[in-house]
Symmetry: C2
Subunit: 440 residues, 2 copies
């Protein structure tokens, strides 16, 4: 419902870094356009930022009309502020600021995946108690609308699976390994040089934490039950080798870091791991820093959204999109919930041991009669059946390499069989174990 | 804003065919789930349908609780009905029913692209005058959320280009021609056999009318200026040959029916035509009855949405998604606009003659010295420059075939050069002229 009487929405920003600057630019550039669209002006009236350098990008004549301080508290204590935009990042002390803002009756827009994936449930409870809402489209997949659609149009359907390439850094690294045959280490330093991976601490991306946050947020909405980042099983891409990429290609696959959430009979499985995917599937053409997410539902069958998952401009567009959603519904006299929390059910999280997957495995073995029979017997004993096998002669010393792809097997069985196979005399080494997602 | 006091939203359906049945099923199956999600029940209390056979799928105990008649008027005259779902189709007499429903203060949800692409502006005026809204997510791309995102999250950005594969029938036909080497006629009858193309009158799909309706709707929202279906330049796929598909493939392209809308400096271009697109671009992997649409904006860069563009279940999910959007905001005492009309600007529609494209052309010529020089001269005279050319020897009688791909050229220049080339003695026939979209 548009409240035509309210002509201006006052925005207070907590944190003024890279993305905040994009938000400022977008709101300034599109001021008139947004006014025509929603019948209201958006105006940043207050900023809290510790580093005065960050504010230098704001023209002086505009800055002098704003209230500026270094204290986040000043933003939510400002009675004139309608919407608080949180772009500080991290869980603490940000959680405190955001919860206080909600308690003060402010709507909150955030791009903070870390916060939402850890404390989203708590924040929703505070928002509901105070009859306001917290929106976070920008926290997942940058400029790609996915939270809005899941909370509105797709709210009619039962979503049972989500599969995404949700981290740009690892996708960039895997694309370089795929295209230029680079090792993981070389591709990582290339990503660091270009600013796609953090120099000091790339772990959050390459070890899957960033993707796990995004999956926790998406799964909470899709499956209507709270999933936090610690619920997500994580395996990064640090152990994927140039050989794996090459062998996978020979077998018609490429390797991507997937975030997969499923709901089956009231149980939720959430995992992030590198996976072989068929080279002819659309997901294999999601390259470089692009992201994509597949959503499967009983009525929609499947939909996929694709775009830039990061960057100041793309992320700013989602932040301002959320502000527009709030502005459209804004009435100072009677606030209210826009979408609200979707987690009205309480579903069990399945441990990874209970999951089922197909697996790709590479083993160094002695090239002797009977070796395959011995390995196959162990697999058989643990209900792991082999879909395809390729033998590669590695040297003249009687050693060979075996590459397997299995049918779907229980995680527990697979790793039990692997422990047994490792102990076989003729098996020297198990180099790689990577899951396979055939999208079937 | 959720109005918690209202516990039930009463739905009246005009028309009860294929998609309406999907809506009925979805609402019945997910009754409890939707109640938990939005705190309200959705209930179909009235149906208007001329063919009593159509109602046989509704269980008797449910049907007897509904009011049923054959007159659409009864639906909007029913004071108990909150939301009217229009699934009759066509522009007339449906326009009359829908406008009366809005005048009666009902929210309207429709899947009718024909109606929205012809009379959308008029309906919005009536809706605004009566402080209600009309939602039509299902009218474009079935189950893929695109109208909602354009009207909410993406509303912050300036959208300057839309490119879509928006018609499942033609995409199915082109996929069969590509994969099995079928002629257009054979692929069409295959599509007809499978129910993907209408038997009596496939023209609406294969000649581009259906795609043009969808493009008119999307462009109106994206460019904030009313575009009607008659504004759209249309070329169908009836003249695409098996040879074209093969030659395109040899040059690294496939052929898709594209709907393209652009806005540049206040001018809108809207066209539907078959086009060569690079085989390694994601759009080339949109096969069979699947649809996809790319949206380009100054902040988002580009996003793409993909999924099932038709079918009762996918379309029903969008209809019910719209009902949920209305239900969340519903207050009988004070109605209001949810998104409202986006067309607050009035932009000029560019005639196709002023457009610029790359072109693929196939000519039958005499295989004599000087023939290429003569053709190239004419192209040059009209500012058409050639990007690549392949000569194919067609027979021993001294005839050859030339395949050209041009650089970007003005439509007017290209067709003027073609008229001139046709008159050259050595040119026997110009078989094909198809645009090329390189997505660069």
């Amino acid at each position: 419902m548009r409240y035509k009487d309210i002509k201006k929405i006052n925005i207070g920003m907590m944190g003024f870094g890279y993305i905040a600057h994009g938000v400022f630019e977008l709101i300034s550039e599109q001021k008139e356009y947004i006014r025509k669209k929603i019948g209201k002006d958006l105006e940043i009236i207050r900023i809290a930022e510790k580093d005065p350098e960050s504010l230098k990008t704001i023209p002086h004549n505009i800055l002098k009309k704003m209230s500026v301080s270094s204290d986040a508290e000043d933003v939510y204590k400002d009675l004139e502020v309608d919407v608080v935009v949180e772009l500080i990042g991290g869980v603490e002390p940000t959680y405190g600021f955001v919860s206080e803002a909600l308690k003060a009756g402010k709507y909150v827009v955030t791009a903070n995946k870390d916060l939402m994936a850890n404390r989203g449930g708590d924040l929703y409870r505070i928002a509901e108690d105070n009859n306001v809402d917290i929106l976070f489209e920008a926290s997942v997949l940058g400029g790609i609308p996915i939270i809005g659609p899941l909370k509105s149009t797709l709210a009619s359907d039962r979503i049972f699976k989500i599969v995404g390439i949700v981290n740009g850094t690892t996708n960039y690294i895997l694309t370089r390994m795929e295209r230029e045959g680079l090792s993981f280490e070389n591709a990582l330093s290339m990503a660091q040089k270009l600013g796609y991976a953090e120099k000091a601490n790339p772990a959050s991306d390459i070890e899957g934490y960033d993707a796990a946050c995004k999956l926790a947020i998406l799964s909470s909405i899709a499956f209507n039950s709270r999933v936090v980042v610690d619920d997500v099983y994580k395996e990064g891409i640090t152990r994927v080798t140039a050989d794996d990429i090459e062998f996978a290609r020979d077998m018609g696959y490429c390797i991507k870091l997937l975030a997969i959430g499923t709901e089956d009979d009231g149980k939720i499985s959430v995992s992030v791991y590198p996976s072989l995917i068929p080279s002819n599937h659309i997901m294999s053409s999601i390259d470089d820093v692009f992201n994509a997410v597949y959503v499967y539902g009983s009525y929609i069958d499947r939909i996929m959204s694709y775009g830039r998952g990061a960057g100041d401009k793309a992320t700013a567009s989602s932040v301002v999109g959320d502000i527009i959603n709030i502005a459209r519904n804004f009435n100072r006299e009677s606030k209210g919930i826009i979408y609200g929390c979707s987690c009205f059910e309480k579903k069990e999280i399945c441990p990874i041991e209970e999951s089922r997957s197909k697996y790709y495995m590479v083993m160094d073995v002695e090239d002797k009669p009977g070796v395959l029979a011995s390995i196959a017997k162990v697999f058989g004993d643990y209900n792991v059946s082999i879909n395809s096998m390729i033998q590669k002669q590695t040297d003249a010393d009687g050693r060979a390499m075996l590459i397997f792809i299995t049918h779907e097997a229980a995680n527990r069985d697979l790793f039990s069989s692997v422990e047994k196979i490792k102990k076989l005399d003729m098996v020297n080494n198990i180099r790689s174990i990577i899951r396979v997602e055939d999208f079937d």
